[in-house]
């Protein structure tokens, strides 16, 4: 994983999944050199791990708005 365009560890699930889809499509397209394919596969592996980790460890984030009538201003609190 020498040539990471984006750091996988900081990816959201959607980002990682979207790139994984591209990687799989590229692998299935079978156009690249074998070495590139292997590199792609490795990156895909890291992306899939990231996705699985996010699915396993994600916690629902909840916050509450303070809605004020009249002015309709909102304050945010966690």
């Amino acid at each position: 994983m020498k040539k990471n365009p984006v750091d996988i560890e900081s990816m959201t699930y959607e980002q990682a999944y979207a790139e994984l889809e591209q990687v799989v499509a590229a692998l299935e397209g079978d156009q690249s050199a074998l070495e590139e394919s292997l590199a792609l596969f490795e990156r895909g592996q890291a992306l899939a791990r990231r996705c699985a980790l996010l699915l396993d460890q994600a916690e629902l984030r909840v916050r509450q708005l303070r809605v004020e009538l009249g002015t309709l201003e909102t304050g945010e609190e966690d």
């Binding site: 959607e14 799989v24 079978d30 292997l38 895909g44 994600a58 984030r61």
Partner: protein, 417 residues
């Protein structure tokens, strides 16, 4: 006359006939979805939790049942003498042969007015196109941000948060609290919706929800302001107001109507297990693609290797080397043969040489005689009687004297001592 004809039409059993009547009743559309107005009498709460009563007016009476599951949802304090509108389906209780109304909802008789108001507003907004199916937006499959408008203290919020947390934890939930009943509810709900629409980024979906309650309790969700706010919301709205059987105008205006708050949460997000399957499926495709690729490459490699081994210069080199080896071998063998021949030849020569070695003759018992001058005596003429000669045998020499005058021919030419 005294007895029925022996072969008259066959009689039905009571059960058969009763079942037939029941099927007729239950097959009637009107009787399965009917509102009926009357006064409660003979009210009974069974230990099972089911409620039994008779609905009466001045001219008739109707047996009614409220099953326990329905009874739990009815907020009215039922008692004899109460004037109500009951909604439900007519069925037939076969054991008693009596028909009865299975009540699915109840309202106070006065609520009929509310209902009329509801219908009027519904028709008006419908005519405006607020409820058009074409206005319904699809609910995003995987929201990143979910807005919730509901009471901050109600069980509905907890139900929704639990459901979301169990199903899908990749989203952020923003709760915009609002009163959900009473006169303050409509402006608060509208304000909460507005606040959520000013978030950046916008929520992908907003849930507008409230737990079950009486028709009045839910009335805020039939308020024109609320209904319009939902219809004009910038992001898709899922409504989850009351119970399965409760319909509010908010439900009609929402992009998706869920039967309950929990149902709204379910509708808002996919189950996470789906995503796990999906992820596993995608990854499997990657593995298969690579495996296929590797097998293809390997097959191509094998084939190339095969072809190369036939055509390769290496193979020719090997063949030439083999020929060379054979040549060398042959030459060596020839050389050895020559050598052996020579050896035999030399041995022959040695033998012949040994044969002509004068010393070898001495070995066989011969001796040679030389005169005083060292000349070999080959003839009797070379010596005289009394002359000293030297005799050489195989292992040495000794002196001797010719004792008799030499005589030519016959017999031994020499005499030795």
């Amino acid at each position: 006359m005294r007895q029925p004809a022996l072969f008259g039409p066959a009689a039905w059993s009571v059960a058969e006939l009763t079942r037939y009547i029941r099927q007729r009743l239950e097959g009637d559309e009107l009787l399965q979805d009917v509102w009926v107005s009357g006064e409660i009498s003979n009210f009974k709460r069974a230990t099972s939790g089911h409620l039994y009563f008779t609905l009466k007016d001045s001219a008739a009476a109707l047996q009614c049942v409220i099953w326990r599951s329905t009874a739990q949802r009815i907020r009215l304090e039922l008692q004899n003498g109460l004037a109500v509108d009951a909604h439900g389906a007519i069925t037939l209780y076969e054991r008693d042969g009596s028909y009865q109304l299975i009540v699915s909802s109840l309202r106070l008789a006065g609520e009929g007015q509310l209902y009329l108001e509801f219908m009027r507003l519904k028709a008006e907004l419908e005519a405006e196109g607020l409820f058009d199916p074409s206005r319904k937006r699809p609910i995003p499959e995987r929201p990143r941000r979910i807005g919730i408008v509901t009471s901050a203290t109600g069980a509905a919020l907890q139900d929704m948060l639990n459901t979301l947390a169990n199903r899908y934890r990749l989203a952020e939930v923003v709760v915009a609290p609002a009163a959900v009943q009473g006169v303050e509810a409509p402006p608060q709900i509208t304000a909460a919706l507005g606040a959520l629409q000013r978030l950046s980024p916008l929520p992908d979906v907003i849930l507008v929800a409230r737990g079950g309650g009486s028709l009045e309790d839910l009335w805020a969700f039939n308020d024109e302001r609320v209904v319009r706010a939902v219809a004009n919301c910038a992001v898709p709205v899922i409504s989850g107001v009351g119970h399965e059987t409760d319909f509010t105008l908010t439900d009609f205006a929402a992009d998706l109507r869920a039967p309950t708050p929990t149902g709204a949460a379910v509708a808002a997000v996919p189950p996470q297990s789906d995503m796990q399957y999906e992820l596993a499926g995608l990854w499997q495709r990657a593995e298969i693609a690579l495996l296929t690729r590797m097998q293809g490459e390997r097959a191509a490699l094998d084939e190339a290797a095969q072809r190369m081994s036939w055509a390769s210069p290496l193979r020719r080199v090997q063949m030439e080397r083999q020929a060379l080896d054979r040549l060398v071998e042959r030459r060596e063998r020839a050389a050895q043969q020559t050598l052996a021949l020579r050896r035999v030849h030399v041995q022959g020569l040695e033998k012949r040489l040994a044969g002509v070695n004068p010393l070898a003759v001495l070995q066989r018992g011969y001796a040679w005689v030389s005169d005083a001058h060292g000349h070999l005596v080959r003839s009797v003429g070379q010596v005289q009687a009394g002359e000293r000669v030297e005799v050489r045998v195989a292992d040495g020499t000794f002196g001797a004297q010719v004792s008799t005058p030499p005589r030519p021919a016959q017999g031994s030419p020499k005499e030795t001592e």
